[in-house]
Symmetry: C2
Subunit: 335 residues, 2 copies
Amino acid sequence: MSYTIKDVAKKANVSIATVSRILNGQGGYSEKTKSKVLQVIEELGYQPNAVARGLINKRTHTIGVLFPKLSSSLVTDLLDGIEKAANDNGSSVIVCHTESNGEKTIKYLQLLIEKRVDGIIFASEILKEEYHQYITKSKMPLILLSTESYAYPVPFVKVNDYHASYSAAKYLMDKGHTKIGMISGNKEDIIAGKPRIEGFQKALSDHNIPLDDRNIVFSRGFTFPDGVEGLKKLLDQFPDVTAIFGASDEIAIGALSAAYQLGIKVPEDLSVMGYDNLQLAEMSIPPLTTVGQPLAKMGETAAKMLLKMLETGEVPESRIMPHKIIERLSVKERK
Amino acid sequence: MSYTIKDVAKKANVSIATVSRILNGQGGYSEKTKSKVLQVIEELGYQPNAVARGLINKRTHTIGVLFPKLSSSLVTDLLDGIEKAANDNGSSVIVCHTESNGEKTIKYLQLLIEKRVDGIIFASEILKEEYHQYITKSKMPLILLSTESYAYPVPFVKVNDYHASYSAAKYLMDKGHTKIGMISGNKEDIIAGKPRIEGFQKALSDHNIPLDDRNIVFSRGFTFPDGVEGLKKLLDQFPDVTAIFGASDEIAIGALSAAYQLGIKVPEDLSVMGYDNLQLAEMSIPPLTTVGQPLAKMGETAAKMLLKMLETGEVPESRIMPHKIIERLSVKERK
DNA sequence: ATCATTTACGTAAACGTTTACGTAAATGAA
DNA sequence: TTCATTTACGTAAACGTTTACGTAAATGAT
């Protein structure tokens, strides 16, 4: 195959130990032999074998990332941040997409553990007991990203969904709206579903806005079709609604589409607000006002936390990232 | 750390060779010892060390993928396919994003080579001479995805941009349009820029439609802002245009946005067509008619080709993937 | 000049596997 | 029963590194 440290040593008339020391800049060699060895390395085009290094150092400089699916902007933005931070640190990232499937997830975890990745980032999905046990048994460092575990003390980075949702609803009220509806995601989802619903409800009730069943429609997921269906249902059960809050940008954009089909003008007849601030959000018509999560930053933070954890051995503190209302053109002031 | 094959061997009163044979199902052991060993493995929760395996087998079951950037739907869809095919094969994928930066790219290549990945997929970007040399010297199997090299015989998978663009223009003409404009990407880009421009031009001239400078505006990239700028320029230089073809979905959606701002109705006043069929395309208002590339399929194909190349040692043939007009609502028939 | 210390290396074990080779016991054929 | 063959293992080398330990030569102090 390719050249090894042995070939370099032989050609430079030194021992492999010396080559290794030079490669790692540890001292214990003269300038003369150093330049000699470096020259040989150059000549041969020698590339150190990270697999052998990994075996002896017990560090692979690789981290594993688990996402429910890859083809979603949300995931992409997170991944972007993770990859950036990992690369700055000289590490690479292995991506896995679990399709929210238990068996697949376990299979991936096994793979990552066998590959001896340095740590795992588990993103955008609920950490089931089974997963947690499996990871814990292997003593693999773990960070949760855009999700959180109530049952286990696993460090996470995420925004506060409850607060973010509250502030979205408040924003709508500040704009003069009182007939406010929500197209929620899955209400069984205790991470991204329930808190957003409850934050919304709390905001309305704190401001004495009547609130009952007709204000909210519950979708199955957080997707575009959920949004188009959602708007239709909401309009059925709450015809005089003037502003709606979608639990994700995709939902909101679905609502935008449905509104367009129905001849409802946004924001003139209806204000629409989203959640996530995906890249999509600035490309919609009209550009979507939304509550922004700093996705790339979050990914970066998670990776940095993991990396620091590897260095220091200490479990880092979880991070609640700031959310922010991104004002664009899909919400109109109402007098 | 975790248990090794030695621990298993000791506890089961056999040699490590026997454990290894059982683990790899190679025969040469009795049923009795097999079940004994399996039981010990279960008890200890032993997980084989893929790093050690990689060292001796010279196969890491990992492939590296290089993208210009991660946060783009195009890349995501490709990645999705790659990851699926790799996983079906028991391999994992390391993602890298080069930011189209020469130095970064070389650094990533070096990383991947040092990690001894089994092969590399280089996606959506021009394979510079420097890259090609570097990879060739390392004898690393290489597949090009959604790009192609004219200078080197590297197998690729991609659609025929020239043809695809031709058929987009033809589609517009078939719908009765004769004043057709194009917002192109970067015309210096000989993979995704030039062929699409030339395919468009050829289609018009084949159908005797007059064609000059005012038909095409050249953007710097393929992004949303390029689209919004592009439309404005095009309208300036070609006010009576009735249909436009954007060299990417993002460009087309940018044009949609600009049109909306300008009070131009799509498709009533102006038809708009894109290229890529990103997930975006069905979420736009109106849903975008576009020429679709089977992105996930392409990613899958590239990964499969690479994997097969590793098995057989033969260089596979390049694959031209079919494109297809995806009819949605952004183009209107004109009588 | 002598001794202690430092410098500049080399040797060999270790990391956790796979596998070529060897061998004793079991099996089968005659 | 005897010999050949097969079965079921064990031993040890190899993969390409890092590093603890040892040591001869160089340097410095006196």
